[in-house]
């Protein structure tokens, strides 16, 4: 049988820099969507905490501990990042492996919110979008997940098939903001 090589979503595309901005690929991590059954949010949160040390976040929020995080990921959806799901979660939620389905990148640099302001119709400035805040919004025409991970750092995910477009759009915006000095 042919030997298949595992490649990350942004293989050969990243990292890139422009002015103060760096765009790099997030480290490969297990990704799992959790969709709690009706009325089971609290039970799922307790199971998550027991198994992975993190609770279920509220809307537009994320929780994280020791390299494992849970992002709010849409109506009735959460994304577990950084650990394979414990079997106990399936009792309370539909649990689906998403590990190879998303391209995830990290945008860093002073003024990174200005780069994203060129691409998303939401206010991601620190005054309204703090560390640990997350949201779903279109980046260009791609349905994205954006999380603030630091003072000048964002983690961004889109469907894997759109990795090259994501990198192109972000790189163009980074260069545009950098050119303004």
């Amino acid at each position: 049988m042919t030997e298949l090589l595992a490649k990350t979503a942004c293989d050969g595309l990243l990292s890139v820099t422009a002015g103060p901005f760096t765009l790099s690929e997030e480290p490969v991590a297990p990704l799992t969507s959790l969709m709690p059954y009706k009325g089971r949010d609290k039970a799922l949160s307790a199971a998550l905490e027991a198994a992975h040390g993190v609770k279920l976040p509220g809307v537009n929020r994320s929780t994280s501990k020791a390299g494992i995080s849970v992002l709010w990921f849409g109506r009735g959806q959460f994304l577990l990042v950084g650990a394979g799901p414990d079997g106990s979660l399936a009792e309370h939620a539909a649990v689906v492996d998403q590990s190879d389905a998303w391209a995830r990148v990290r945008l860093e640099g002073a003024g990174a919110d200005q780069v994203l302001a060129r691409l998303l119709p939401v206010d991601l400035r620190a005054a309204s979008f703090k560390r640990g805040h997350t949201l779903r919004s279109p980046l260009g025409h791609m349905m994205a997940s954006v999380t603030r991970t630091g003072v000048n750092a964002f983690s961004i995910a889109v469907f894997r098939s759109m990795a090259a477009t994501l990198v192109h759009d972000l790189k163009t915006a980074m260069e545009g903001v950098a050119a303004r000095g």
Binding site: G74, R75, P121, V122, L135, R136, S137, P138, M143
Partner: protein, 86 residues
């Protein structure tokens, strides 16, 4: 134009897909008769004033919502999840 998603908060119109009159929530019984079904499938009011429409928060949380707005003044009066709306 901004729409108040009951889950995400106020968001730009480009994040939403427009479905049409919230009439779609009032599906007749299967045996309601041809007239009721023809009305449901084909006939729509075209109100000058307050109207209720179904929108899908496609670029955001993926919820279906019912938005109440005024077609004369362009005011957006409110929104609720379609799940609980009638």
């Amino acid at each position: 134009m901004r729409l108040p998603c009951p889950i995400c908060g106020e968001r730009d119109r480009r994040e939403f897909y427009y479905r049409g009159a919230a009439l779609a929530l009032h599906r007749p019984d299967p045996d309601a008769g041809d007239e009721a079904w023809a009305d449901y499938v084909h006939l729509r009011d075209n109100p000058a004033g307050v109207t209720r429409d179904l929108w899908y928060h496609e670029g955001g949380c993926s919820a279906w919502i019912v938005v109440t707005r005024n077609t004369v003044t362009h005011e957006v009066l409110g929104a609720e999840l379609a799940e609980g709306a009638r």
